[in-house]
Subunit: 237 residues, 5 copies
Amino acid sequence: MLLAYDHGFERGPSDFDEHSIDPAWIMDIADSGYFTGVIFQKGIASKYYDKKKYKVPLIVKLNGKTAFHAGEEPISLQNCTVDEARELGAVAVGYTIYVGSENEQQMIQEFSKIEEEAHAKGLIVMGWMYPRGKHVKSDIDKETLAYAARLGQELNCDAIKIKYTGRPENFGWVVKAAGKTAVFVVGGEKVEDEEAVLKTTREIIECGAAGWAVGRNIWQAKEPKALAKKIAEILYK
Amino acid sequence: MLLAYDHGFERGPSDFDEHSIDPAWIMDIADSGYFTGVIFQKGIASKYYDKKKYKVPLIVKLNGKTAFHAGEEPISLQNCTVDEARELGAVAVGYTIYVGSENEQQMIQEFSKIEEEAHAKGLIVMGWMYPRGKHVKSDIDKETLAYAARLGQELNCDAIKIKYTGRPENFGWVVKAAGKTAVFVVGGEKVEDEEAVLKTTREIIECGAAGWAVGRNIWQAKEPKALAKKIAEILYK
Amino acid sequence: MLLAYDHGFERGPSDFDEHSIDPAWIMDIADSGYFTGVIFQKGIASKYYDKKKYKVPLIVKLNGKTAFHAGEEPISLQNCTVDEARELGAVAVGYTIYVGSENEQQMIQEFSKIEEEAHAKGLIVMGWMYPRGKHVKSDIDKETLAYAARLGQELNCDAIKIKYTGRPENFGWVVKAAGKTAVFVVGGEKVEDEEAVLKTTREIIECGAAGWAVGRNIWQAKEPKALAKKIAEILYK
Amino acid sequence: MLLAYDHGFERGPSDFDEHSIDPAWIMDIADSGYFTGVIFQKGIASKYYDKKKYKVPLIVKLNGKTAFHAGEEPISLQNCTVDEARELGAVAVGYTIYVGSENEQQMIQEFSKIEEEAHAKGLIVMGWMYPRGKHVKSDIDKETLAYAARLGQELNCDAIKIKYTGRPENFGWVVKAAGKTAVFVVGGEKVEDEEAVLKTTREIIECGAAGWAVGRNIWQAKEPKALAKKIAEILYK
Amino acid sequence: MLLAYDHGFERGPSDFDEHSIDPAWIMDIADSGYFTGVIFQKGIASKYYDKKKYKVPLIVKLNGKTAFHAGEEPISLQNCTVDEARELGAVAVGYTIYVGSENEQQMIQEFSKIEEEAHAKGLIVMGWMYPRGKHVKSDIDKETLAYAARLGQELNCDAIKIKYTGRPENFGWVVKAAGKTAVFVVGGEKVEDEEAVLKTTREIIECGAAGWAVGRNIWQAKEPKALAKKIAEILYK
């Protein structure tokens, strides 16, 4: 289970409250023992991730865009080098590809250079595979997600982060399309009912996913660590 | 005869069934002795092509685009370096040029750098020469395909992959336009009638083509190896 | 308190009078002891900032655009390298990102390279975080400024320059969004009432800001040094 | 007299017949002793120009575009490096600039780098100076061609290839605009009347041109070598 | 007083007569002792400027565009490196920035790299500061020219070339905006009345300009050297 916290970049601080706006508060949750990685942009990593102190592995997200761009074909470009991520203590790097966007080629090309360099330097490479843009009818459709997952494998991702179709009867096809590439499911918006989160956790595991990359569902929860513990028990057993 | 398997990138997994979605299953066909090359994107090559184990030579495709881009002028950019392809065990690299596209110049320029580097490093260079875009009236027209074939030669391809005109009486002109550049014919969509495949095989060989670069017609066949064997007998005699 | 003087680039000499058009006159104010930095473009720094003579630290602004571009989506690109800034004696470099602009990605990417290089060479990195362009409804809205401030932190700025919301009751949220990144408030247009300037100074300090980055309010004042002294007394106590 | 044979790239094989489609047949004409250079794209040069065997000097064309792009502003980008051309045995490199095109600046900039490198490495630099695009009213107008010729000189071409105005009374001005840059006249479409070709040859020489860069008028002629001999006698006396 | 002769590039040979089309004829005027510099594009410099023979210093113009582009937003890109200019014997390099053009940022960025490199290699850097494009109402307006002049200083030009407002009562403000950057006034179109040229010469000198960068007014004059002598006497006394 990965704890994602790049929302300040992608969505702005309006998702945060007085606690969650503080990366130090997030790091405390991340390092609680229930997570196998924490995902930051370089600025947060630089100021709040002490590589000598924390045990939870660091994943640095290498691109990002703000939420202002409604109506534009999505594009997100590299803002951190592989070397800078390593320097910060990262064991893995992440990059979003908006699959189907008119700018898809630019992101695929940039990502492919990151993939080559990061693998050569011993880092794990993760792709956020998000179908998006005017050519994409639905971003939770089985075939669309299977395509995105497959692209992640074709581009040599070690792992991908992808939405859940919402249906356990077809998500296995998405996982199968990813082949040897591990599949992490995006947490998405806060779900009020904790039982629903645990149920979905069981579903995705049964479909072959490697686990969650979760953000708001943890740090917007009343008791983040308690919920993390419950999810972890399902995932790691 | 080359076995092409970049459909997961170019067309998505909807072409696949439970067998063909698995690159390991494809590798088993590719290494059956009937093929002189197997074509993968770098991710599949990295995870499924064991250069110590397999005898069939590896061709790594260096660019690709997804199928989402209907109505756009086609463009496909490099996503794998020549060095990364070599590292994976490739003896040849491939690259698609959408001849006639408004983005043609960008692809020609990128390809020309690949050609220089790959040849300098002893690799074979293949061009997927596909007339496409709003300026292209027909992509199986004799003159259009002859132009695409010629461009492959002018750009110093060792081999090209190109559509068949469908008519044995004029395909010789396409092959002639390619000069010393070897011509491989694209398999295209699955043909139900196996006899038709064998008949076409004879036609293209008589026109001077070097052989097939075939995908769906093999791995969507009921008995892929049996069909491969029949085609191979025609091609290699 | 930083003295900003890049108006000749960003707005043209129409803001200047016979005194303020002369960078030597500005340097005299800047080096009066009330400022912790002076902000120039490279040309002014090269001709008027004598690094052996002056005590006030130099901040070189690395990008800029002219005021002609009404109706265009804003973009401002690098016109000075980190090395050139160091050579001129800079201890810090600044760069404007027009947050929300359709060209935002280009500026984020360029800035991220500057950030990496400048930090590696021991310089302080400042971001002018200005929400601007057709997607931005208001550039003094609390949420918008908090987003811009947060982006500055996520991009690893040591300090940012940002507008004031105008309301002491909500500017603390903007400062909080910036986390460990120091917040300097843009002076903006000349305010006639000096008491108003001093009152605002107290407000931003109470909200947690590090201070002002002020230009016209100082060098268009009747007695620039006297006003600077009054502000400095509030800021540095 | 230069023999041009880049038509397979620029116009496609529809200009060719069973003989002229074969670069070996062209090389035989080129090396007949009547030509001072043969012009190929790199692919043809690589496969058919044996630098140990042939005496006629090789000119490698470094850019090219296909004929599909009617209605677009013309652009033609580099597809062969100076080093690759040298490796192939070239003594000169050529590059087309579509003067007046909206993409003119991109070609001028790319060409200027080629010019610097090629001259530094001892190669002759030729510019194909072709006024083209929506801003160009006529491409055989005296002033337009004089401008194109002049641009060739300003960009430091050793020689240019340019159209003939068709009128001996004004072509001298075009040659004069080129100054110390040698002027080769484009052969253009096949002229049926051989006497007309010889007459034009005399005209351009009297206007100060260095000679022809001819293609179709030679290799579409009934007896290419015989015609070449007649033209050569006029040019070289 | 600088003699400008890049008209063959910027305007074409239609400004020339049988004499002025010949750069050798121009060099004779330039080296007459009345000029402190001659301005060429690299091709003319390479063929006509003999650095061992001539005393007049060479200024190489590093960008240029043709006159075909009416209705386009102006852009002019680098076509000669700093090293190539030095090799040709230049003591200074020039570059046009179309201030206010939608392409302004591209030119500012390119120029800034030239400025850094040229200064590091000991060359003088001149900016042709020309307000141009749809955002520019008037290119001889006092405020507009003062802005352009100021930008030249902010970008660290040693000297700029700029239009005259036409009015001695306000041109001093333009010169003041340029600060320590020397101001050369563009000659512009041929003025028939020589007295008018001499009168304007006195005006610009009194406003603080460094002198003229003149072209047509000299080499289209009946007696270029005689006129140059008269202007020189005013400028250098």
